[in-house]
């Protein structure tokens, strides 16, 4: 089966913005953005979640999604997927900010590094990359993967200059092909990241800003205050009292971006090595039934989110209406299941937490308390939750599922024996494996949807992923930014497109 795109019309999103703005080329103004995640690393290939915006001004991927959610080539010119072989043609004349060129060899080296490091789940099925021409690389897959191009539009597809790859301090000295360069001199570790226009960037129109400042403000209140006092123009928010306050503050707007994230718990130790009760699906179902999602989204998420019992929200192709209400709040049923499983007296386990999840987990703990399950909460450093979830430090974890990513990642993240968040290396039900393989073999969404719906249905029965609410991606913005049409958001992610932003005055 061959699936190919030939010569997609080249358009950056900045170019789209140019229609509404005078074509003044000189970069002007400072755009100040507040991240809630702390910067862990600026090495895109070692990046494991949270804080993509630190990388975006510097790095470009082979592909990207446009504001409509379509995949468009950026550093790539075109691609062709043929079974387990992906052939990518690079756009000619791409240079890094250090002046070196992006060659096919280097692109292959980059991709192989991503594959070897194994941090990025999106390239889990990739085997190796090699340069097969002066501007052509071939990526070989272990099995067909319809979302491989999607993966290459994220950090997996980000290209790092050859010199930077050799730099042991790559995590703080990023060198990419993007419109801006990182300025370590002006940045303050743990506080502020400063970016300035990259000299010689191929598209000066995309460099509308003289300076980008990204602040690291994990504290919700502090981020809100920074927004209120005008210290930042735009800030990421999760559903929190502070987000609710943004909505009510004159001069500020809460921007709800489509896509969103589904907050869920995941029982990692489902064979019961550490917490024997987790081996019993009835226990996990009981936990699922014990959570009052309506109350949760009203109270904990301040009405900013909707109850969820599956990864995808209504309107997305993988969404399954049949799962709606699958685990409607039913304490009696939950207690009965616990009784049945022989855990009427309950049990105890420890859950990792980061500050922004604290109140959610406390609420969950409160629900679980009702069925005598004691959930101890242990705070880990913001930015390390995903990493710690890949270890056997905790028998369960809690994460957010990004609605924009392909459902195949359910398998690569949670289900497969070597899934990212399956640190106990538990073999999945063969049927699940079968379904996920089937889902990869078909290219079009209509064909894949029933397969994934069945898979998600089975997962719901196993009940080790306990979905709670889906929240749109929230940004707090000053009125000026909210009405600035050059500020656009990458669908399904918590990052704006920095390329193309111009400040109104």
């Amino acid at each position: 089966m061959t699936f190919a795109i030939r010569k997609l019309a080249y358009s950056t999103f900045a170019a789209a913005a140019l229609f509404v703005l005078p074509a003044t080329a000189d970069p002007a103004g400072t755009f100040r953005f507040a991240e809630q995640a702390k910067l862990i690393t600026m090495d895109p290939h070692n990046h494991s979640g949270g804080g993509f915006s630190y990388l975006r001004p510097v790095y470009e991927s082979l592909f990207d999604r446009n504001p409509d959610g379509d995949i468009v080539p950026v550093l790539a010119d075109s691609y062709q997927v043929d079974g387990r072989t992906v052939t990518i043609t690079l756009k000619p004349g791409i240079t890094f900010s250090d002046g070196t060129d992006l060659t096919a060899d280097l692109a292959a080296r980059n991709l192989n590094r991503v594959i070897e490091l194994g941090v990025n789940a999106g390239v889990k099925l990739a085997e190796k990359a090699e340069a097969t021409g002066p501007d052509q690389i071939t990526l070989t897959l272990k099995s067909p993967d319809p979302s491989i191009i999607d993966a290459l539009s994220g950090t997996a597809g980000m290209m790092v200059s050859a010199a930077a790859l050799d730099d042991p301090a790559l995590d703080r000295n990023p060198v990419g092909t993007g419109p801006y360069v990182y300025s370590p001199e002006e940045s303050r570790e743990g506080e502020l990241r400063v970016y300035t226009p990259a000299p010689g960037y191929r598209d000066p129109e995309a460099q509308g800003l003289a300076r980008i400042e990204i602040s690291e403000i994990p504290d919700n209140t502090a981020r809100l205050n920074a927004l209120k006092t005008g210290q930042v123009d735009l800030a990421i928010f999760l559903s929190s009292p502070q987000a609710a306050i943004v909505d009510r503050t004159p001069g500020l707007k809460l921007l709800r971006q489509p896509g969103g994230t589904t907050y869920h718990l995941s029982v990692l130790d489902r064979e019961g090595t550490q917490v024997p009760a987790f081996a019993d699906p009835r226990v996990r179902m009981a936990m699922n039934y014990a959570i009052d999602r309506e109350a949760f989204s009203k109270a904990v998420e301040f009405g900013l989110s909707t109850p969820a019992t599956q990864p995808y929200a209504e309107g997305l192709w993988a969404y399954d209406p049949a799962l709606e209400g699958r685990y409607a709040y039913d304490l009696d049923k939950a207690k009965a299941l616990m009784q049945e499983a022989g855990y009427a007296e309950g049990f105890e386990f420890t859950m990792p937490s980061i500050p922004i999840f604290a109140s959610r987990l406390e609420a969950v703990a409160g629900f679980l308390k009702e069925i005598n399950v004691t959930m101890n909460i242990q705070t880990v450093e913001p930015g390390t939750l995903a990493r710690r979830s890949r270890t056997t430090d905790f028998p369960a974890t809690n994460l957010v599922w990004n609605n924009a990513i392909d459902p195949k990642f359910v398998t690569t993240y949670y289900v497969a024996e070597d899934a990212v968040f399956n640190p106990f290396r538990i073999k999945p039900d063969p049927k699940l494996t079968e379904l996920s393989e089937a889902g990869l073999a078909i290219a079009d969404e209509a064909g894949r949807a029933p397969i994934y719906r069945e898979m998600l249905g089975r997962l719901a029965e196993e009940s080790y992923m306990i979905f709670i609410t889906t929240t749109p991606i929230l940004f707090g913005a000053s009125d000026a930014v909210a009405t600035n049409e050059t500020v656009q958001f990458r669908p399904g992610t918590d990052t704006p497109y920095f390329a193309g932003i111009r400040l109104g005055n």
Partner: protein
Amino acid sequence: MLRLIGQRLLAMVPLLLIVSVLTFSFTALLPSDPVDLIIGDRGSEEQYQMIRERLGLNEPFVTRYVTWLGQAVQGDLGTSFFNSVRVTDAVMLRMPATLSLTFASVLISVVVGLGAGVAAALRPRSWIDRLATVGATIGQAVPNFWFGLILASVFAVSLRWFPATGYVRLAEDPAGWLRSITLPALALGLSTSAAIARQVRSAMVGVLQQDYIRAARAQGLPARRVIFRHALKNALVPVVTVLSFQITVLLGGALIVEQVFAINGIGSLAVAAVRQQDIPMIQGIVLVLVLVVMAVQLATDVLYGLINPKARPA
């Protein structure tokens, strides 16, 4: 005086060495393997060994210690386990905020504490004494971070006189710095000013009973002069000792108050380093904090020598 400073500096060398051994060895007691934390459970044995090699963890303890110490005395405290940030840079970047906060609160404590203590001591059992004593007693019982929350809620959230969070660097905007540091410093300085007020009061009451005060008054020196010249200088002797100790306490308190006001100081760096078990970072922070404490102790020793002639080397 130079001799005093020299003596004190010399005395600090063994202490610093012990602190360095202590810091270095208790971080070696950390339960989890930092390499595991860095690579997760996914790393191959090869990667694991590679990282151990890079971090020098395969060397014997003493070798690691000597290497680390050798670099530390040159101002290089190593590199974080988790990114390529140099510990010295990270600590130095955060230090100004913490030190600003600490010293602003020292200033507040000394001014408030001295004033209240002297006022109380001059009229024992008067209303002002009672007020100061009650205030000082309560002040010592109030958690500084709670007081910070209250201050923030009243003066920042409701009245909007001061920013509720954040730290403005002195070099960037002195007025903004003052505004950003005022509430946290007040919160932090409260209990110390209470402690100092109590110390000043009891020292003053004690000194005022001394023969030399009676003698000075018997010479017909004006009461004000006796109090502010003769008594205060002697009363300051124990106060300086308390102050030296209190500055250490304040430095610790700053680590918590910083969190209330979302100030990027040593506090958040330390908490993050501990959560990540970032050994070089913890070692660096502890060592630098001890250096600060020692500098403070040296300064108070010098001050002590200035006001107490008996403490000067013969």
